[in-house]
Symmetry: C2
Subunit: 379 residues, 2 copies
């Protein structure tokens, strides 16, 4: 037999490639600097072709599971499942945990969408609606006693409000018989979560894990899985794809209910390992320092100011700034200088800037961005 045709790899392009843009966008965002190396290894190992019921895949799942547990301090009470996105996961959680009542803390577009999903799924959700940019007085908000699932969003990507983990625990302490869920989409692995007090969390990889979109991670304890089994036994429609029971029965042998995004699961494990080798506390320290610099700049800027006023609610990973000038002009200027940042969300599109502060951007890069923002001569 002839030598089989060679894979055509046009890697010479890389010579011309420089890091022309740094992405401070809220996600998809800057890829973590090891991403491409892991991607290339995945290709060399033929991970795009392997079967998801093979030993190779099981080893990958187990590796990523181990690294995420270490990174996020996830105890053995919780399982780690892979879905396609956080949006899909909203739906899975509501289908599998809620028979009728979910209660939502809504203070922006994404927490609102989570609430809307519950309505669309014919549940009977209720919510406390806070104006954008504000946190919640958790000690004084009463949740109906027949509520099943409390839905919180620790970091509102649309408005840059971050809820202290202690606020979440307070809810669990007040309502120990209700399941508590928190959306960590744009904050994991930055926030510390005590998984003894949170039943269910999730995130997607295109935010602070510095990967392209295409993978969501769901972390649930046994109470959530038992609830799902109970609903199923009662004849409630819990969906057919990626049910908690299907996830769990496959998870016992480190498999997934159907063919997942295998390459992304592999790379997520490798990036989690990279984070672990730096140390999560060091990563958190760096993010905090970059956020502090950015807020310090905004507090004294003539043209920008933090949208979130109360510092305890100011997100360290998604910094939202009010802009006195049309934000499109600022964004366009920064882009020409090699920095891509996000616009405001929804109605705030032209009035605000959203700047992601993830591990993929270095302190030097953040300083550079702040320099550009501070030296820009407004028209």
């Amino acid at each position: 037999m002839e030598n089989p045709k060679k894979i055509i790899i046009d890697f010479d392009n890389r010579i011309e490639k420089s890091r022309t843009q740094i992405y401070f966008t809220p996600g998809p965002s800057q890829l973590y600097h090891t991403y491409q190396m892991h991607l290339q290894t995945a290709m060399n190992k033929h991970l795009g072709s392997i079967n998801h019921r093979s030993n190779v895949f099981r080893e990958i799942y187990e590796y990523t599971d181990t690294q995420l547990r270490l990174l996020l301090n996830i105890p053995s009470t919780h399982s780690i499942f892979f879905a396609s996105s956080a949006t899909e996961i909203w739906e899975r959680i509501l289908l599998n945990i809620v028979e009728q009542n979910s209660f939502h803390f809504v203070n922006g577009a994404f927490s609102k969408k989570f609430f809307n999903f519950s309505t669309q799924l014919k549940k009977k959700p209720s919510c406390v609606l806070m104006e954008d940019g504000k946190g919640f007085d958790m000690a004084n908000i009463d949740i109906p006693t027949d509520n099943e699932l409390i839905c919180t969003t620790q970091n509102e990507t649309s408005t840059g409000v971050q809820l202290p983990s202690e606020d979440l625990y307070l809810l669990k302490n007040r309502y120990p018989n209700q399941l508590l869920c928190t959306d960590l989409v744009s904050i994991a692995p930055y926030s510390e979560i005590d998984y003894n007090l949170v039943d269910c969390t999730f995130f997607s990889v295109q935010k602070a894990f510095g990967m392209p979109p295409g993978l969501g991670v769901l972390i649930v304890n046994n109470d959530c899985i038992e609830k799902s089994k109970g609903l199923n036994a009662k004849g409630i429609n819990i969906g057919a794809h990626n049910t908690f029971e299907a996830f769990q029965s496959n998870y016992f042998r480190f498999e997934t209910p159907s063919t997942p995004n295998i390459v992304a699961i592999y790379i997520l494990g490798k990036i989690a390992a990279d984070y672990n080798s730096i140390g999560i506390q060091q990563i958190r320290k760096e993010i905090k320092a970059k956020a502090t610099d950015l807020y310090a700049f905004a507090n004294t800027s003539e043209f920008f100011k933090p949208f979130v006023v109360e510092s305890k609610y100011q997100s360290d990973t998604i910094v939202v700034l009010d802009s006195k000038v049309d934000s499109a002009a600022v964004i366009s200027y920064l882009s020409k200088q090699g920095c891509t940042i996000g616009s405001g969300y929804g109605v705030q599109k032209n009035n605000q800037l959203r700047i992601a502060n993830f591990p993929a951007t270095s302190p030097q890069e953040m300083s550079h961005l702040i320099e550009l923002l501070s030296s820009y001569k407004f028209p």
Copy 2:
């Protein structure tokens, strides 16, 4: 500012890399030979970081849409949506099209699972159950007149049964008031489909498009979308994520309801373009020729024979062979020779071989595999 840190790319590995294994597995399978080149271009263009509401993404969606239309001869009556997998799509179709009754042609594990999904979603499906390896006498199978959706699987990946497109059209001609869906997972773009006679099809990219898993493609006409809107208006639970209406309202501007696997959508368009530049008829001719050789070998082999007896139902893309010797031994031998093939599915694991015949493997590679199979000295 210092030059930002360089992306570490360990591409020197490629020098040591040769095509050590050829994947004839039913999917995930061999990557198409242009895959890595397109992946590298995607990385160079920062497609892992771009926003899914940006012009760049809209252009990618439109490009992939155009190339798929050309390749699969999809008329303007049908929309092309992107989900995460065919398994997710089973659920979306049943939620969005079926109020109560779906009718399923079941002749293997995957068509069975599609049927089971309908039960799990609290619909009232019925089916015609054919033994594995057989097709259906479409002219004489009666479907209840109150049925809403006819679900067919053109290519049963578990058993290697391929239904002629004419059989599908016959169903539509007999039941013009019912919506007709066909699962093209392991056959697109090989089969020719007249979209005037098929309302809904879908596939995933890790089969005959030679990509890693992580993207599903759903092709539906307006009748399906209108049905979904009608169910929603009636208060039926059609799901919250990736509803047909959300897909369609975003599709008008080439967007998706939530952040999709952008890199995969880009590469799918590029591979479809590669296929188009070769010409779909040429690609089909090559697959047919490779399948003919493989079946010809099996028909005269002492140890193997085609599982599907009737030649009109023998799949050209998934060839299933009965094996007189333990298939694990054959698979292990072939693997050492650089060819990975699939085992039988489920209870047939040790009795059968499954060999994918997708565009990613060349005629020479298929000849090589046949040579190995025919020269193997059985114990």
